[in-house]
C-alpha cells in the first residue's frame, strides 16, 4: 500500500476504534458482565504473569550470538575461500569445513550435471598431473553465521554422485532458515538508550561454499549445467 494512503488508513482505524469503543462497551450488556469479567480477568492475569513466566524460561534454549573471535574467523574464511580456491589451495583456508568424495572414472570424458534446473553452486576444476582415472570432489564450506547466530547445523549440504561418466551434483531444494529477533522496547529505549553492555546486532550473512573437483589430466569435460571455473595451470604449478 502506498504511503499516501497511510493518513486515510489511520483515520479509518481511529473511526473503527471509536465505533468499537462505543458499541463494544454497549455490547457488555448483551454478553453479560459476569462472563466478560472473567475474560478480562483472564486477559489481565495473563499480562501480569507473562514477565514472571518470561524470566523463568531457560535461556539455553535460545540462540546466542557468537563471540567476536568466531565471527572474525568465519568472516575471514568466507572472504578467503573463493580467491584462495582459485589458486588451487582451498584446503589452506583457516576455518573451512569439507565433505569429500572419490570416484573412479571409466573413459576419457566427464559431464558435470546438476539435479536442479538452475544450479547455484560454484564449481572449480583442477586437472591433476596424473592420469589415474580418479576424480576427487571436495565440497568446501564455511560456518554459516546469520545475524551473529551460528546456523551452520541448519544448512543442508550438497551431494555428489557419479553415474557412468556423469558427475551429478545434488543441491538441496529451496528452503528457509529463519531467525526471530526481538527489538528493544522503543518506549523504554527513549530513556534507557542503547545498552552499552549489548553488542550491536549485525544483520548480515557470513557463509561461502564451493565444490572443488580434481580430475585426471586426460579427461575431457563436456558442456555442463555449471559454469566450471578452471584453476589456471601456472598457479597450479606455483603450488
Amino acid at each position: 500500500m502506498s504511503i499516501t494512503f497511510a493518513p486515510l488508513f489511520l483515520l479509518i482505524l481511529i473511526i473503527a476504534l471509536i465505533c468499537l469503543a462505543v458499541y463494544g462497551a454497549k455490547l457488555v450488556i448483551y454478553i453479560g458482565r459476569i462472563k466478560l469479567g472473567w475474560l478480562l480477568t483472564g486477559y489481565f492475569a495473563l499480562l501480569i504473569c507473562s514477565p514472571v513466566v518470561l524470566w523463568l524460561l531457560p535461556p539455553e534454549r535460545l540462540s546466542h550470538p557468537v563471540d567476536a573471535t568466531s565471527l572474525r574467523k568465519a568472516e575471514a574464511a568466507a572472504q578467503n575461500l573463493f580467491p584462495v580456491a582459485l589458486t588451487g589451495r582451498p584446503q589452506s583456508v583457516n576455518g573451512v569445513r569439507t565433505l569429500e568424495w572419490q570416484f573412479r572414472l571409466d573413459g576419457e570424458s566427464l559431464k558435470v550435471e546438476s539435479s536442479r534446473p538452475n544450479p547455484f553452486l560454484n564449481v572449480m576444476v583442477e586437472k591433476t598431473e596424473e592420469n589415474d582415472g580418479i576424480i576427487e570432489a571436495t565440497y568446501f564450506f564455511t560456518g554459516a553465521i546469520l545475524g551473529m547466530i551460528d546456523v551452520s547445523a541448519q544448512v543442508r549440504k550438497v551431494e555428489v554422485t557419479l553415474t557412468e561418466n556423469t558427475l551429478i551434483i545434488t543441491e538441496p531444494e529451496h528452503y528457509k532458515i529463519e531467525l526471530i529477533k526481538f527489538s528493544q522496547d522503543f518506549m523504554a529505549a527513549q530513556i534507557l538508550g542503547e545498552d552499552a553492555v549489548r553488542r550491536p546486532f549485525v544483520f548480515d550473512l557470513i557463509w561461502e561454499q564451493l565444490l572443488y573437483l580434481r580430475i585426471p589430466q586426460g579427461v575431457q569435460l563436456q558442456k555442463s549445467d555449471y559454469y566450471l571455473l578452471s584453476v589456471p595451470l601456472e598457479k597450479e604449478d606455483a603450488r
Binding site: L11, L17, K26, L40, L62, L121, K181, D185, I191, L205
Partner: protein, 251 residues
C-alpha cells in the same frame, strides 16, 4: 452561610470518578480487544531482513511491541473522544454536579485508563515473547533483547503512559471542540490532513513539525520528559476545561 446542599468539588469528582470506572468498564473490554488484535498483528513481525543464497533463503524476522503500543495510542485517543459524547456525558446526570467536576472526573478516569493502557501495552511485549517461545520451543529465537528486565518494563510503562496521557488529552480536547461546535467535525480532520499534506510538500513545515515531535521524542531524560508531558497535558486539558465550561454557559 454554608448551604447543606453544597457539596465539595473533590467529593463529587471522586464519586463521579468511581461511577465512571464502574459504568464504563466496557472500555476495558475494548482495550483487551484492541491489544489482542495488536498482538495477533505483531506475530507477522514488525520488520525483517532477507537474503537469498543459492537455494536457501536466510531470513531474520524482527519483532517488537510497536504495534501494540501504537494501537493502544489509538485506543486512548478514541476513548477520550467518546468520553465527551452525549451518551457518556448523560451519565453525569445521576449526580449533583457541574461541568468542572465532570471534566475533572473524566481527567482522573483518563489517567487511570492511561496507566492501565501503558502497563498492558508493555506487558503485551512479554506475551508476544511467550507466544513465540512456546510455539517454537525457543529454536531460532535470538537471545538478545528476549528477556525484559524490570528496568526495561518500568521505563517502558512510564514512557508509554506519558505518551498515552498526551494523546488522550489531545483526544479529549478534540471531543470537547466537537461538542462545542459540530463545525469541528470537518475542521479537525481537514486540519490533520492539511498539515500532513503540507508537511509532505513543504520542507519548512515538515521541519517545524519534526521539531515539535522531537521536543518529546528526543528527550532522553526521564524527569524532563515527565515535566514536558505533564506540562503539555495540563495546558491542553486546561483549554478543554475552559471550552467545556463556556459550552455549558451557552447552553
Amino acid at each position: 452561610m454554608m448551604s447543606l446542599t453544597k457539596i465539595r468539588l473533590f467529593y463529587v469528582t471522586k464519586k463521579q470518578y468511581k461511577y465512571k470506572l464502574m459504568a464504563y468498564s466496557g472500555l476495558f473490554w475494548t482495550l483487551a480487544a484492541v491489544q489482542t488484535i495488536a498482538i495477533l498483528l505483531s506475530l507477522g513481525g514488525t520488520g525483517g531482513w532477507n537474503m537469498g543464497r543459492g537455494t536457501i533463503l536466510f531470513s531474520i524476522k524482527t519483532l517488537s511491541n510497536e504495534i501494540i503500543v501504537l494501537l493502544t495510542f489509538l485506543w486512548a485517543f478514541a476513548v477520550s473522544v467518546i468520553l465527551t459524547t452525549k451518551s457518556y456525558r448523560d451519565g453525569d446526570a445521576v449526580f449533583v454536579s457541574n461541568r468542572l467536576s465532570s471534566n475533572l472526573a473524566n481527567g482522573a478516569f483518563l489517567i487511570t485508563y492511561c496507566l492501565i493502557g501503558g502497563l498492558s501495552a508493555v506487558l503485551g511485549g512479554a506475551v508476544l515473547r511467550l507466544i513465540f517461545f512456546f510455539s517454537t520451543g525457543g529454536l531460532g529465537i535470538v537471545s538478545q533483547n528476549f528477556f525484559l528486565s524490570p528496568t526495561e518494563l518500568a521505563a517502558g510503562f512510564a514512557v508509554t503512559t506519558l505518551y498515552l496521557l498526551l494523546i488522550s488529552t489531545a483526544g479529549y480536547l478534540c471531543g470537547i471542540l466537537v461538542q462545542c461546535s459540530k463545525v469541528f467535525v470537518v475542521i479537525l480532520p481537514s486540519l490533520f490532513f492539511g498539515v500532513l499534506i503540507l508537511a509532505g510538500r513543504d520542507a519548512g513545515i515538515r521541519e517545524m513539525l519534526l521539531q515539535a515531535i522531537n521536543f518529546l521524542v528526543h528527550e532522553s531524560s526521564f524527569i524532563m520528559l515527565t515535566l514536558k508531558a505533564i506540562l503539555i497535558t495540563a495546558v491542553v486539558f486546561g483549554i478543554a476545561l475552559l471550552i467545556s465550561n463556556r459550552t455549558e454557559v451557552r447552553k
